[in-house]
Structure formats: structure tokens, C-alpha cells
Symmetry: C2
Amino acid sequence: MSGTLYGLGVGPGDPELITLKALRLLRSSTVVAYPAPEHGDSLARAIVAGHLPGGQTEVAIRMPMLVERFPAQEVYDRAAAELGDHLAAGRDVAVLCEGDPFFYGSFMYLFGRMAERFPVQVVPGVSSLTACAAALGAPLAARNDVLTVVPAPLPADQLRERLAQTDAAAIMKLGRHFAKVRDVLEELGLDSRSRYVERATMANQRLLPLDQVDADSVPYFSMVLVHRRGEAWA
Amino acid sequence: MSGTLYGLGVGPGDPELITLKALRLLRSSTVVAYPAPEHGDSLARAIVAGHLPGGQTEVAIRMPMLVERFPAQEVYDRAAAELGDHLAAGRDVAVLCEGDPFFYGSFMYLFGRMAERFPVQVVPGVSSLTACAAALGAPLAARNDVLTVVPAPLPADQLRERLAQTDAAAIMKLGRHFAKVRDVLEELGLDSRSRYVERATMANQRLLPLDQVDADSVPYFSMVLVHRRGEAWA
């Protein structure tokens, strides 16, 4: 009897934003795996640190710093093999996923490698999308609004085209792409309808007007929300 | 000292998909309010029924059946007045929201009426978007994918335009609009890359290939997920 691979959404950062279901499966799994940087601590593990019962086998899936080159196939191949050994031996494996496993998450690369060989269950989590909206006090979309999720690394002309056409947008993965995004929003006259948040729901969360953001120090975990009408309910 | 208005995301249907934070605030609030149909039971209340401690004041916000006419301003005006009386008397009020309060949720109409007068805190929840992806075993979007959330009531030409341009899409609020959506997906050659789910994470959840869906019996709580590459990680 093989174990089950659980992809657990642990939410956007506040440890209290984990679901009862993810918490139960986290605590009952023999093995806990999580993405981590090449050196240093895993954010996903830090989110659940206070919930861990102790005594579990931990597997850090360490990702080398490879700018603009992802996914790192070999890292996922190796992790799938290691976790597969645990599953084949009958041990349940919980993979921790920041936010939600299937919303721009790296879990899908393990899922793609393992779902045909092992039982897999994905537990959805609170995504950064809705966490940022809650932090900003800014409803995302209402009624028949079209909502577009746009990764900031896209070229400026693609960003312009997407943002010009939608009722509401969430611009993710800002980091060093912030200045380009802000320029596009200004060109489109949407800057006054845009709101910026970084590290939503974490202890060091910050909300800022767009023109007060220092473009040189924007973290990856940041987002701009835009609504064409200013307010979704308007 | 006025009470606090909490907008609590209670998740997509499975009672175990509520967060620890929403559960804590649900249990500690003196008043619990929720949307409900004109006659009959509230889905949001049903999701948390097993978590209620008893002894709370309950307020059902009953919405008359008004097809194609929303929001019903008078209903929210009245609800805001009633809940405002509780808040002014110092009582905390928890408003239950299916999924997430700010993702196409009716909570924003209360938020718009009350946020300037009372302390409001929004607790994000697991949205139908990620719940449907988990149920389908279908990652929503990866890397620099553009993900578009499209309400099915839009006219066919607008649906066609949106779906032709995006990497991934979630088509919501299907109900009686399903046949139109399926036709558009077939025209665009995207039908084989589309997956249908209704009542994700609820006891009566169903997953179906697009061509096996009976267009005459599609519920409002259903979604089609599309990915241009077939699989988000491909």
C-alpha cells in the first residue's frame, strides 16, 4: 500500500490562514516536504512552524538561484524520486505550498511527475490574490467583471494590452519589474485606481500608494490590484 | 466603543476548508449574518453549521429572486442598517461569505456601505477558483501565464475575445449560460483543453467532460477551467 501525496495550501503567510483540512493532513503525515532557497529558511515551513507536532521527517526541496530559468527540471526530478521512495514505502507525504498549490505554485511540477504513479490529493489554500485584496480593503471583482491575473515579468507592450482591456487586474511577481508596471499604469491613466501591497498578511506587510513605492526595493511577494471603476462595487 | 464587522471567507463548501482565523472570529462574534435566498436555507450558514457554538444572534440577509438585476440595493441598505445597530451597540458582527469575501462576493456591497462608519476586517478564504482547480487535479496557471476570470453571462462575442487571448481561463457562474460557453470553446478549439466541475468540494461535487454535461441542468456553482497548453506545467 503506497502512501498519499498531499499538496497542502498553507495560505499567504499568516499562520492562522491555514485551513482545518490542511492542518489535519499536515499533522498526520509522516513526511513533510517544502520548497526552500539554496541557502536559508523555507517560507512555507515558517508559515506552519507553530503547527508542527515534531518527530516528522522533513525534506527541503532546495532551488538554486537561477534567474529567468525555471522550472529547474533536475531539482524536481530528484525531489520526485526522493518523495516517491517515501510513498512507495507506505508513508504519507505532505508538500507545503505557499498560498494555493495550483495558483502559480511550484507544486504542479511535482504533481506532473507523480500523479500517475501515486495517489495525490490537493488541498486548496487561501491564495495571495484574495489575501492582497483583503489586506488592501479592495474588492477584486464583482458582477460580470473580467478579472485578469498578469505576471509582471511580461514585456511592457503585453502588460499594456492586457491592462487596457480588463475590468480588474492583479499584477503579480513584481520585484524588479515594478517601475515598468507603474509606467504602464500611468500611461493608461490607471495609476489612481491601483493599490500596492507587499507581504500581505505577514508580520511585515506594507500598503503603499503607487507613487510612494521605492522601485528598487520591491519584493517578489508583492502585488498591484487595479479596478477600472476605482471600486469593484461602484 | 463600536463592535467590529468581520467579513469571513468560509471557503467553497467543505466545512474543513475554513481557516483557523475565520473559525475563531466566527465563534467569538455575538452576531452572525449571512446571505440567504428569499425562502429556504443559506449555503454560507450550512457550510459552518457544525462550527457554531450556539447562542449567537443570527441575521439572514434574504435576497429576492431578481434575475439579471443586482445588486438589490434596498436589501443591502436594510442589512447595513440592521448590522450597524448591532455594531453601534458594541457587538461584533461576523458576515459569512461563501469562498472569499472580495472575489465576486456580495459582502462588498455591505463593505461599501459600512467601511467608513465602523471598523471592518476582511478574512480571506479559499475561493471557488482554486477549489475547482484542486477538485479537477488541474493546475490553474504557471510561470508567466495570463489567467483570465470570465463570468459566463457575458455575450458570446466577448467570451470569444477573452478566451482567444489568454493562456488560462476560469469561466464562472455558468448556470443557464453553459451551452453558449461550450459553443465558444468548440469554435476556438479549446474544448479538449477544458474541464467542468460543479459544487467543488461539496458532498455532491461532480466532474464531467464538457461533452457529457447536460446544458439544461448546470448549477450556478459550477466552473470551466481552460488551459491553452492543456496542462499548466507543460
